[in-house]
Symmetry: C2
Subunit: 282 residues, 2 copies
């Protein structure tokens, strides 16, 4: 039996492209919400999950940062997917006949120039990108288009009317592969691989607290590749900090940095340690 | 003639509550998008704008951080509004008859427990909270409800079926009043007021760069109240940092910190210096 990987959205979503890169040969199982995706792995029903964590234009997918903390899954791998948005419609619909364009709000927002150039199109928020193509086809809408991946057009038998309508070509999404597992130690065979470690921590709300926490990394010359703050539930205006840096948890510098962080932080946890993906910047 | 303040959404949006606090006596002018709100002030058509910048549960309104940088408006004041979500429907609709509940995706997301307790209700994303009440009433929908403020129910003649359905009562949104103006210097008369300063900066993508930039504040014991990272457009995986701290730009410690930041940052700008609002945490 093929192993199953949960993702949010409909077949043809950018997450399925990421799933092919992160879990080749696995069956991608669509779910409606990120909560269901995390739960399906946390309760042992599915083998793994593929989730988007940040996009070069939109920023972080904050809900997933919150779920990472809540469900305690481990980040096993990362990958980058180049996001290409297309105007898609049923085969019988022409561009001139379109009045409404459905897609996920983030995708609509990433095609602002396209909507400015086509003022007749009403931006219509929908649950997800590929799902909006599916819906168009199922309902047989004749006045509507959708914004989604080329995969989605093919899967649902729709037609691409205009390719690559995103404002900015440097549009990449970073995805994580998550499993219910302990953080792996590297074998000697792959010790030349560059690793990334993700941690989350809180600090006291006093002057210089974040600065001191970051000194744990800076004093060991560890390169931070991402810092994200999230509101701490139940403590308005206090924050959780999510930090990614280059290094493996078994490197001496990382061991020392985490020991130092443990001294300075109110709470801290390693979320994962995984091979750093190449950035594929065009 | 009354001065006009732009806000995003329909009358009854939480932004209109903030506008009453930040610009009492001004006329609140609804606009469809945040882009229009910023543009209306940047091009001198309207006097000021009121925008949400962060929420204790959702986190930052990232689009507005991007607009703050792009349009160069000045933050003149801040305030906090307690967010209470209500299930609202036309007067003739009973809770048992509801199949769809419309609201802004963030509001839907803040009422997860409510939807778990009411599985018959389909979460239906709409442009905004108050606008979904307006739409229900205009279309005369009989199978639908909306999630919005009590103000919205009153304005559109709808009825509150269930009060305070948000998951977490510690749900506050911070709003900014923005104007096209230079940053004001404090007069002696109000020198006992606690001020907050907001800055944005970028640093080189090298180890320790953010740490060194934060040292400009930490070495002067300035209390950071917020740090936010945003992707830098055109430079995938590089970030802009938005920092708020307690202090006025004319305080010697702040002057020194900004001089030090100028040395360390690739780009930096003061976004505003304004009286710190009380946090109104219940």
């Amino acid at each position: 039996m093929r192993r199953s990987v949960a993702f949010q959205g409909a077949p043809g979503a950018f997450s399925t492209v990421a799933a092919r890169q992160l879990a080749a040969g696995c069956k991608a199982v669509p779910m409606e919400t990120f909560t269901e995706v995390f739960e399906s792995v946390a309760n042992g029903k599915l083998y793994a999950a593929v989730i988007p964590i940040e996009n070069t234009l939109y920023g972080s997918v904050h809900e997933n940062y919150d779920h990472l903390l809540k469900y305690g899954l481990t980040i096993e791998a990362e990958t980058f997917v180049r996001i290409v948005h297309n105007l898609i419609a049923p085969p019988n619909v022409k561009k001139g006949g379109i009045r409404r364009v459905f897609s996920h709000p983030v995708a609509l927002d990433q095609c602002r120039h396209f909507f400015e150039a086509n003022p007749a199109f009403a931006r219509t928020p929908y649950y997800d990108t590929a799902g909006s193509v599916k819906m168009l086809m199922e309902k047989g809408l004749t006045d509507a288009g959708a914004i989604a991946s080329a995969d989605a057009a093919e899967i649902y038998g729709a037609r691409i009317l205009q390719k690559s309508i995103e404002d900015d070509r440097q549009n990449y999404t970073r995805f994580f592969l998550l499993k219910k597992a302990k953080i792996a130690r590297p074998s000697n065979a792959i010790s030349n691989v560059r690793y990334k470690t993700s941690v989350v921590f809180t600090v006291k709300n006093i002057p210089g607290a974040l600065f001191r926490a970051l000194s744990a990394f800076a004093l060991r010359d560890l390169n931070l590749t991402k810092i994200e703050s999230r509101p701490l539930r139940g403590k308005p205006w206090d924050y959780l900090f999510y930090v990614d840096f280059i290094g493996h948890t078994s490197d001496p510098a990382v061991t020392h940095a985490l020991g130092h962080l443990a001294e300075l932080a109110d709470m801290w946890r390693v979320l994962g340690c995984y091979p750093a993906a190449s950035k594929q910047i065009s």
